[in-house]
Symmetry: none
Subunit: 192 residues, 4 copies
DNA sequence: AAATAACCGAGACGGTACGTCCCGTCTTCGC
DNA sequence: GCGAAGACGGGACGTACCGTCTCGGTTATTT
């Protein structure tokens, strides 16, 4: 398997290409040229630009300390607001956005990639959020977490409505209200 | 602009190609060949396969009676359940899914296409749903409608979790509960 | 089929490449680049570098007036000497040799090319020589012509022995002697 | 230099590849794989597929008893006919032809290979034939031997005319006639 | 017998060329 | 005079070999 130096050269190349020239400019030949690597070396380790892109994202995420840090201050509202703000910041960060959209686009056509994406990035991240709800004794924490996260992705993926501070506040408030009503009744809750 | 017969031949060609051979097989040359039309004719009316695909989807949607029929029986829960089931059925219909995913993927890279998509397909559909909530005197009907729709798209786009009947029921119940609490208080509601 | 200007650009390119850089440097990509032509254009009209090379040689030969000029002064010895000297000059001309060797090498591996080569270049040339012998009333002119030509090619192809003036003279003398003995007896011969 | 077992494995590999898959299929990588040898081992001992091919042919020829056996029954005509028939059989033997053509093709492009080929295979073989003519007291035995051999190679290399029994007979007869006239006059000849 | 070197298999690597597909433009020719 | 048919320059695809270059794991001495 690929030498470590090769992998990192390739990762750097694909990230810079995706960032500066957009999605369509990410080609196997372009990556090879930018990384100073032969095409065969790419094909030995990856089977598509999507794989490389995903691998690069994953490596970066691992380097960056790995798991998503879900804040847990005891105040659910504040924590969710911070979380939402962070997610939005990451999704709309000009340095990342094109890259993330590229991967999302590839997911639509490549089932294998979608599987890896789900298992390695989506599930861990979502689990962390679910745990935060569970710690707040929310019933059906999976579903509530999804309800919290989905509108953010929806707006981003379908560009249906722009993000704004007011909406984040209102959204968090709605989710918290829902969570309270869904909280297991009769049990002392760690937080109010 | 293209002759009507040309447009329909092209629409038929692109739909059949997308359906039978997958996303990658939709090329300008392929469409031209399948439609019995010259490439120049395609380029005169469209600028990418995404445009053609989108145009075809739009035409089909118009032919099919146009707007999404949001049920309005007076029973919000039943109506939402029917609506959700219908959306899920359309999104996962093997005859359409590849096509819809193809367009979604193109949206990530093509801002102009994303704009047209939002204005011509997304907004009308979403408005109809918002209207349904408004008719039920739900406060912030836009946000609630989004909260209703987003998890469905989220599951479909990121393939995060499969669809199942039980989830639909629970999801609708959660949305309705939220809507009730958000309903403008003090006004007689058409439904309970 | 290819535009005439394309053909001539390609011919010029392949001839110059073969001349200056040797046999191995003649590649489809190289020809395309040198000719300012796309690879697809080459593949539309030819299936190998050998075909292009052969086509170029043929075109050049046609442009140059076509058929081999076999001298016919009435003096068989002198004519044969001139013919042999001309053939040797052409085969060893530094401007052509690599090119001719390239084609000869390709003939060994490509039956179709060998057929075309034989029919379009070899047979006409050989026929002209046979005719010269026939006009001298030589019996079995085909075989004698072959006996005349073969050693020249043999030395060239297998590099068995170098060419020199003395050998040419001796060779021609031997062939003429053989031809005289083989001449149809009892008939007045045009030449002695 | 390579271990003897390696050499023979490589020879076997290259011969079988050339035989079964044709000239183009003989590659360094293919030979290494077939022989169960690393590429580096090949490059340590040879510099091209042509070298290996030639080396294999040479080894085979040495194994087979080495020199060409030129028949010497005392009857020049019969001996030459046998010799010609043998050469033609070898050249057109389906088991060898592709291989021999491959080497001949390589000779056109590789001067060093051509030198080795001439010295190690061609000269010894040709000398044996020259000796046969010399024993028959033929004058200029080199040239006559060449005249005898050249048409056979000519027909084979340029595929100019097919081999047939009648031609062999006529060819031998012509050569013998020429040889008689060229025989040193006034000396008793060992044969008539 | 253990130490030491030479050799070898395996195969990653930067490259070049292959032959194909599709891009978007431009030209030709028939209805 | 419009439009199909398709040639054209170009760029990327994925593959096959090239010749070079480490790697370990034998072999075969050499001590």
């Amino acid at each position: 398997m690929a030498r470590e130096s090769t992998r990192s050269k390739v990762h750097a190349a694909v990230l810079s290409l995706a960032h500066e020239s957009g999605l369509g400019a990410v080609t196997m030949e372009g990556i090879a040229a930018r990384a100073g690597v032969s095409k065969q070396t790419l094909y030995r380790s990856w089977d598509s630009t999507g794989s490389i892109l995903f691998d690069a994202l994953l490596a970066r995420s691992v380097d960056a300390g790995g798991e998503v840090a879900v804040p847990d201050s005891g105040d659910l509202s504040n924590d969710l607001r911070a979380l939402a703000t962070g997610m939005i910041a990451e999704l709309t960060d000009p340095a990342h956005e094109r890259l993330l959209r590229a991967v999302t686009a590839e997911l639509q056509a490549d089932d294998g990639l979608a599987d890896r994406f789900r298992e390695l990035l989506l599930v861990p991240q979502q689990s962390a959020i679910v745990d935060r709800f569970r710690r707040a004794d929310v019933a059906a924490p999976d579903d509530v977490a999804e309800l919290f996260v989905a509108p953010i992705f929806h707006r981003w993926l379908l560009r249906s409505r722009p993000f704004c501070e007011a909406w984040v506040t209102a959204h968090v408030e709605r989710i918290v209200r829902l969570a309270e009503h869904a909280a297991t009744p009769g049990l002392p809750r760690r937080e109010g």
